[in-house]
């Protein structure tokens, strides 16, 4: 018996180890419980503005069977890096970030040395999602150029990479089309920004005004006089922007499918975190879809399905 005790015990131990490992690896399958991840989404601006994106993220979480992330909007008292630091301290092990300052955010994440998986959506090289800012801006430039007259491009001096890309692409394409283009820097405080634009619009110095950011477009639409002949174009997704479009204050918007953006961002983060995404629908892998939407086509079936949240 002694001769066989050791091999038998060894075999039994090996078998036990294999079974335990098997059960551990399959425990999620057995219990069907959400994976233990703690993800934080740090937005630039208010959550209200990012509702579609948030829904996309939640949808992806549902598909991945993971906990819904904590979503932090811009905080007046904390910078984004401070928000990041706070979330790391709370135990966040994955981030989706819409940076206010692309470089600062990237550098900060590197400085932490924690190697925390993060998806930074800013259209930069660090962005793991297919960026089409230049393409969208060029398309918008073509529409704006068609309306004729002088085009004023509203800029806010942002350090966001996506805005820089949009501005460059828009300017390039507008000039290619022979449009008269000028820029108006409104990179000061939001409250003053509206008043400043109201005055600017009242002077009638430009026939076409373009905002490259949703917030700026909202302010511009609000500042536009009711009887103004100015055609307002811009990038936007928010309810305010859609409402302004519906009521003719905005001529045309370039709408990026933010539901899809949020969903894809979450899937990309899950892949970085080593979560299995094989069973999850991931679409075609093309860049995030966008659409030029005017008052005339906003209620087309395909368009309204994109711009109006189905399940608020």
């Amino acid at each position: 018996m002694k001769k066989y005790i050791r091999p038998v015990v060894f075999a039994a131990a090996c078998l036990s180890f294999i079974i335990i490992m098997f059960l551990l690896t399959k425990s999620e399958e057995i219990t069907n419980r959400p994976r233990n991840v703690q993800i934080s989404v740090i937005l630039s601006g208010s959550r209200e503005r990012w509702r579609s994106l948030e829904r996309g993220i939640y949808q992806a979480c549902g598909e991945l069977k993971i906990e819904k992330p904590f979503v932090a909007e811009s905080d007046e008292l904390l910078s984004q890096t401070e928000q990041l630091n706070s979330e790391i301290a709370k135990g966040a092990n994955g981030f989706i970030i819409f940076p206010e300052d692309s470089r600062e955010t990237s550098e900060y994440l590197l400085q932490t040395g924690l190697n925390i998986p993060a998806v930074i959506i800013d259209g930069s090289e660090n962005d793991s999602l297919p960026a089409n800012n230049a393409e969208m801006a060029a398309a918008l430039a073509e529409s704006a150029a068609e309306s004729g007259g002088k085009i004023t491009l509203l800029t806010i001096g942002s350090r966001r990479e996506d805005l820089r890309q949009r501005a460059d692409a828009f300017s390039r394409r507008a000039r290619e089309l022979g449009a008269e283009l000028s820029t108006l820097d409104i990179g000061f405080d939001g409250d003053i920004r509206g008043e400043y634009l109201a005055v600017y619009f009242s002077k009638g110095q430009s026939e076409t005004v373009v905002a490259l950011d949703n917030d700026v477009l909202e302010v511009a639409a609000a500042a536009l006089p009711g009887n103004s002949k100015i055609s307002l174009y811009g990038f936007g997704n928010s309810d305010k922007v859609i409402y302004a479009l519906d009521h003719g204050r905005i001529k045309e918007i370039c709408f990026q499918n933010e539901f899809s953006l949020g969903y894809s961002a979450m899937i990309a983060l899950a892949e970085k975190m080593g979560i299995n995404t094989k069973e999850v629908p991931v679409g075609s892998g093309d860049s995030i879809a966008y659409r030029l939407i005017s008052r005339e086509n906003m209620y087309d079936l395909e368009t309204e399905r994109l711009i109006f949240p189905l399940m608020p």
Partner: protein
């Protein structure tokens, strides 16, 4: 084929060479594991089939329940529409009064399910609406789908697919998803009738809630399409609208009520279809095959885990049991192995199960017997060696030799040279036969010749106190015998019978064959002896017969008797017949066997 046979031959050969413990353990384990795996597989398959059927049944029930709820919901909406039309619009002349109050009442009663109710003239003008609100500028309802369909088919209620209501301003700047129920109505104004469209915009959340609540715990998912395959509700509707997810909704239009197996987008799935009543919508439950797999995954893992643990337990138990069975056998086998090496002093293992214990006892008994027999053999060899030594010693018995040589000297001194020569010759012949080139077996002829030489010498020494007669059948002369068996008998006769004779002594030696045996008798006519004396002469004692040097050669009857028995067996030996005052006959009984000089 031959390779397979060779493989099996090698396997079985290898298997046969292994220890009994290994064989038992491996055999039991293989049988048990195979049985467990087969049972596990069968149970798993049975369970998986049951699970699949249960899921299908559950989903069928779910679909039926959802259809029932949707029918109730749409019937309720049509009831509202009918109420407005038949109880309000039909009974009202719009030139006399508006219908806003009645519409508002109905709206308020059902506002959880409704977004708005409105009535339009055939040219798109708003007759009335509830809740009271403002119609959007530049909106021409005539171009909207619900209006077109209502105008196209009279007397039917039409349910649209979900869309964003684009008629009224919302004070909260909200955009509401609705399903529009529209119908053509007859309007009366100033006694004149015209047609219009009654619109009931159902809150899409009503449909969504039915599916969300009922489909929450189902396997797979459930979705809703209209007659043309347009999706009304789908749990992944946003994904579908964004082009991330695809659904087989267009093909599903062709399905009537029932269960279908389909392959879509590379995935096999079961589809349960049931149509709703008035609307013609189809509720479709989809259970991907992978979902079945997921559903039975827990069972599979449980079966694998239980089977794994059982196999582990079996291996340990088999090792333990086989050890319990095989250990005594192995110990016994070790004892036998030691025995094979010649270690007879070992302690044979006795223990384990009854059969093994019995076997051990039997082996121990056998070993004891072997030891005893070997002792006997050793003793016999020792005895033989000693008796042969005695026999050899007898050849050179100093007394005999001295007396004989003394007689020869005396003959020479008496110048009886021929007799001296004869005696010397007889003595030489006596020793030659005694030695026999070291052989122990000689022919009876030589043995008798040896006896004759001996008698010849003794007759001279005893001055012919007795006469000698030797007769032997010629056929026995060539038979074999151990040497020096006749001489001691003659010697006895001479010393015990002939010494007291005075010339009339007789010694007769007869050799003959009888009943397959050879007999040599030495008969004298001496004074004989008692039966007690006879018995004591051949009494079997463990000690070899003592050599009486005073009596001739010193080799006694007992020595001869024992030597014959040792060489030829217990049935052979000496027989003594004696009568007081008559004489004694000592009969040697030998086996009839031809003497082979080379053997």
């Amino acid at each position: 084929m031959s390779r397979i046979k060779s493989f099996f031959d090698k396997t079985f050969k290898y298997y046969r060479r292994k220890s009994i413990q290994f064989t038992i353990s491996l055999s039991f384990t293989v049988v048990a594991v195979v049985c467990m795996l087969v049972m596990g597989a069968l149970l798993y398959r049975q369970f998986a089939d049951n699970m699949r059927q249960t899921i299908i049944n559950d989903n069928q029930q779910l679909v039926s329940q959802i259809v029932l709820n949707i029918n109730n919901y749409t019937t309720s909406m049509r009831g509202i529409s009918d109420s407005i039309y038949y109880n309000v619009i039909k009974n009202t002349d719009l030139a006399d009064r508006n219908i806003s109050k009645e519409m508002s009442l109905l709206y308020e009663a059902n506002k959880n399910d409704l977004i708005s109710v409105a009535c339009f003239t055939e040219d798109g003008g708003l007759v009335d609406a509830a809740p009271t609100t403002t119609q959007k500028e530049n909106i021409d309802v005539r171009s909207q789908d619900w209006f077109v369909r209502a105008m196209a088919t009279i007397e039917n209620s039409h349910f649209s697919i979900p869309h964003v209501q684009n008629i009224f301003e919302d004070s909260n700047q909200r955009y509401r998803w609705v399903i529009s129920l529209s119908r053509m109505v007859e309007l009366t104004s100033g006694g004149n009738t015209s047609i219009g469209v009654l619109l009931v915009d159902m809150n899409y959340n009503g449909i969504e809630t039915i599916f969300r609540e009922m489909g929450a715990n189902s396997s797979g998912y459930v979705y809703l399409i209209d007659r043309t395959g347009q999706i009304i509700y789908h749990p992944k509707q946003d994904l579908i609208y964004s082009g991330i997810y695809k659904e087989n909704n267009i093909s599903a239009v062709g399905y009537s009520d029932g269960i279908y197996q389909e392959n879509f987008d590379g995935a096999a799935r079961s589809v349960i279809v049931k149509q709703t009543g008035y609307t013609g919508w189809r509720v479709i439950s989809v259970v991907p095959t992978s979902e079945f797999t997921m559903s039975v995954a827990q069972t599979r893992i449980l079966v694998i885990a239980v089977t794994g643990f059982a196999i582990m337990l079996i291996i340990i138990m088999n090792a333990f049991i086989s050890s319990r069975v095989a250990d005594p056998i192995k110990k016994l086998e070790q004892s036998v192995r030691d025995l094979e090496k010649g270690n007879l002093a070992l302690n044979i293992f006795i223990g384990g199960p009854y059969e093994i214990e019995r076997l051990g006892k039997a082996i121990r008994s056998t070993v004891d017997r072997i030891i005893s027999l070997m002792g006997d053999i050793v003793k016999e060899h020792e005895q033989k060696r000693r008796m042969e030594f005695d026999a050899l010693q007898a050849q050179i018995n100093p007394h005999f030799l001295y007396n004989t040589l003394d007689s020869i000297v005396w003959m020479i001194e008496s110048e009886r040279y021929p007799e001296a020569i004869t005696m010397v010759t007889a003595l030489a012949s006596l020793f030659r036969i005694s030695l026999s080139k070291g052989k122990n077996i000689i022919s009876i002829g030589e043995e008798l010749k040896h006896a004759q030489n001996y008698l010849h010498i003794q007759k001279i020494r005893y001055k012919n106190k007795f006469s000698v007669e030797i007769n032997a059948d010629s056929e026995i002369l060539s038979c074999g015998t151990i040497k020096l068996i006749v001489q001691p008998l003659i010697e006895n006769s001479i010393y015990h019978a002939m010494q007291i004779m005075d010339g009339d002594g007789e010694i007769k030696i007869n050799g003959y064959q009888k009943n397959g045996g050879v007999y040599i008798e030495v008969r004298d006519n001496g004074m004989g002896m008692t039966q007690e004396k006879i018995a004591s002469l051949l009494e079997d004692t463990s000690e070899p017969a003592p050599v009486d040097e005073r009596s001739g050669s010193g080799i006694g009857l007992k020595n001869v008797h024992q030597r014959i028995k040792l060489y030829y067996g217990q049935e052979y030996g000496l027989e003594i017949e004696s009568e007081l005052d008559e004489g004694t006959t000592v009969r040697i009984h030998l086996p009839y066997a031809r003497f082979d000089e080379d053997a």
